[in-house]
């Protein structure tokens, strides 16, 4: 059964529609990546799923149960099954608690006092490759990447069914990043852990995500198998995004497709296709609103998509 089923999610702050109908599904053991423009609503999506941001419309089903608008009391039993990794690593750890208290907090909230918390702290630190003596430190005594790893340990503590991870590897060097992703891959295989991962690092997406959704201005504009999308992006925005990824080679000459113009305004959404004014491939027909169309599991919101192979 589908583990997470998000349908037509809407979030507004005042008059501003930050999410304008987001839908996607995640199966048990699946990793789903949300990528897209900064400010397009990715963090809001996972915060709304976890009940940390408003969602005025739509539905969020976890394990078949509707959880949108659930009260904190109703959500509490689910906090064990759904874990969250926040976008700012240091800011999300309370400054007055030691790392030991922070990573074993989930056990205490769930009332699992009987566990040997010290041993648990040691095990969790080891899992994210931090030395055991870090248990006595405070968040400000950690580097950015170390704080990030504490956030990961905390999220994994209760062996959840679903992790909502906001930029889980930002600020990590490539070796630690590799360790962390290998660890998550391993948990996925052993425990059937499912993940929604938000990341701007396209290299990470390619290696961990089974499927990916690309967001623009509060909506998905494309969705499909990661491999298919990398090989054959159909939406011009996806195409621009993938072509921009900097290569780790000072001599690389990238064939970038430049985006025109400014990031769009939420106050005055563009008419027709909302990407039209910046789209290098826009046609006259794009002044009509493109519908969401799905073909062979590949979803697309574009009236003039790239042809197969055009991106190569």
């Amino acid at each position: 059964m589908t583990l997470l089923d998000v349908k037509n999610l809407h979030t507004s702050y005042g008059k501003v529609d930050v999410l304008a109908g987001v839908s996607f599904e995640v199966e048990p053991g699946e990793t789903y990546a949300l990528v897209g423009e900064s400010g397009s609503g990715k963090t809001t999506v996972i915060r709304a799923i976890a009940g940390l941001a408003p969602a005025q419309q739509g539905s969020v089903k976890f394990d078949g149960r509707e959880i949108r608008g659930a009260s904190e009391r109703e959500l509490r039993p689910l906090r064990k099954d759904i874990a969250m990794m926040f976008q700012d690593p240091v800011g999300s750890l309370s400054p007055r608690l030691t790392i030991r208290s922070l990573i074993t907090e989930p056990y205490r909230i769930q009332g699992m006092r009987q566990r040997d918390l010290d041993a648990e702290a040691k095990r969790l630190l080891e899992m994210v490759n931090l030395p055991a003596h870090f248990a006595d430190r405070y968040p400000y005594q950690l580097s950015g990447g170390q704080a990030r790893r504490v956030g990961v340990a905390r999220a994994l503590a209760l062996e959840p069914k679903l992790i909502l991870a906001d930029e889980p590897t930002a600020g990590l060097d490539v070796s630690v990043q590799g360790e962390l992703l290998n660890l998550m891959n391993d948990l996925r295989e052993r425990l059937g852990l499912a993940m929604v991962i938000i990341t701007h690092n396209l290299n990470v997406v390619r290696h961990v995500a089974d499927r990916m959704g690309i967001m623009y201005l509060g909506r998905l504009v494309e969705e499909g198998d990661t491999e298919t999308i990398f090989a054959d992006p159909r939406h011009p925005y996806t195409h621009c995004l993938l072509s921009a990824n900097p290569e780790p080679d000072p001599d690389a000459r990238l064939e970038r497709i430049a985006l025109k113009g400014e990031p769009p305004s939420l106050l005055k959404r563009p008419q027709g296709c909302e990407f039209r004014e910046r789209c290098p491939f826009a046609k006259p027909i794009c002044t009509t609103v493109p519908p969401w169309e799905v073909e062979n599991g590949h979803g697309l919101r574009c009236l003039s998509p790239m042809k197969a192979g055009q991106a190569a």
Binding site: G39, D88, Q141, H207, N245, E262
Partner: protein
């Protein structure tokens, strides 16, 4: 006069902890020239943020400067008064912190904060506000005018990062220090920000010290690269040399680990096995030896010096010394 803007000489910085002194920086030596973009890369926890907070003297209370000099335009910064340092930070040197929440005051609107940093300017309030909006627009924040009245938590992570960059650029500094300023930016914006930084550097001959784990960004933006490991500089050189001809095993392994090289889905990503040494209890010999796959007998008890291998390229590894590696 040489065109050296920032000169770090033999810098040693400790953190005092219950477990003893943590030797967070040891013998750090490198220069940044006017108009140059220097990248710093290295393992998470190797001391990059400690280094830049030391330059700006914005360190944690348990920090101890043990030795060395930090010279900016020829002047040693360590003996300067707090007041002089504050003036320097506002005008000559700007910083973008790793965690943008460190830059933004949560209870003031972004507009107020951007007015406050222009307190030295004689311009009218309306002009300052217009200038703030223009800077926000320049880093890709839509509706900048309206957005000035919002509070930091009302912006996305990447927007907060871009606002921090915009604020750092407002004073047209001689030196911009940026600690992972693009981690929350999508690839297209990241490229746009890189281009802005390059423009700035050309327009004002501003030097940039740029910390990032994103090797692709380093390769694209920087002229020179400093590689750090466990509190020490282990290699430095021209960006091409570092990427194409690394002379330290750590640098080589780091580059090999970048998934950016691997174009098909990998089941297991490459890593550098082993652990970073405990900075409170440093091992004898080369600090990378435990994890090095090319270690020689002498690596166990002698610290390899950071030696110049050719013009501008230095590395600290015994493999580059024929007399011991032969």
């Amino acid at each position: 006069m040489s065109d050296t803007l920032l000169q770090i000489d033999n810098l040693g910085v400790d953190y005092e902890t219950a477990r003893g002194d943590l030797k967070a920086l040891r013998d750090i030596t490198f220069d940044v020239n006017r108009g140059e973009i220097v990248g710093i890369v290295g393992e998470s926890g190797c001391g990059k943020s400690t280094l830049i907070s030391s330059i700006l003297r914005l360190t944690a209370p348990n920090t101890r400067f043990r030795q060395g000099e930090i010279r900016f335009k020829g002047q040693d910064l360590l003996p300067l008064s707090e007041r002089r340092m504050r003036a320097l930070r506002g005008e000559d040197i700007s910083i973008v912190f790793q965690d943008p929440m460190q830059t933004h005051n949560p209870v003031l609107t972004i507009g107020q904060q951007m007015l406050d940093i222009q307190h030295r300017s004689k311009a009218s309030k309306a002009e300052k506000r217009a200038r703030a909006a223009k800077m926000l627009g320049a880093v890709g924040i839509p509706d900048p005018e309206a957005r000035l009245d919002q509070f930091p938590h009302e912006f996305s992570g990447g927007m907060r990062q871009r606002i921090a960059i915009a604020m750092a650029l407002m004073s047209e500094p001689d030196l911009l220090i940026a600690d992972e300023p693009t981690t929350a930016l999508d690839a297209t914006l990241e490229v746009q920000i890189i281009e802005r930084l390059q423009e700035l550097q050309q327009q004002f001959d501003c030097a940039i010290l740029f910390i990032s784990h994103h090797l692709g960004v380093i390769a694209e933006l920087c002229d020179r690269v400093v590689v750090m490991y466990a509190g020490a500089v282990i290699e430095s050189g021209d960006v091409r040399e570092i990427f194409h001809n690394p002379k330290h095993p750590y640098t080589r392994r780091l580059i090999d680990c970048d998934p950016g090289h691997i174009k098909t889905r990998a089941r297991v990503l490459p890593t550098i096995p082993g652990e970073v040494p405990d900075l409170a209890n440093l091992p004898e010999g080369c600090i990378f030896r435990d994890r090095c796959d090319q270690a020689l007998p002498c690596c166990a008890h002698q610290v390899p010096p950071l030696t110049q291998l050719q013009e501008g390229h230095r590395a600290a590894c015994w493999l580059n010394h024929e007399e011991v590696s032969a």
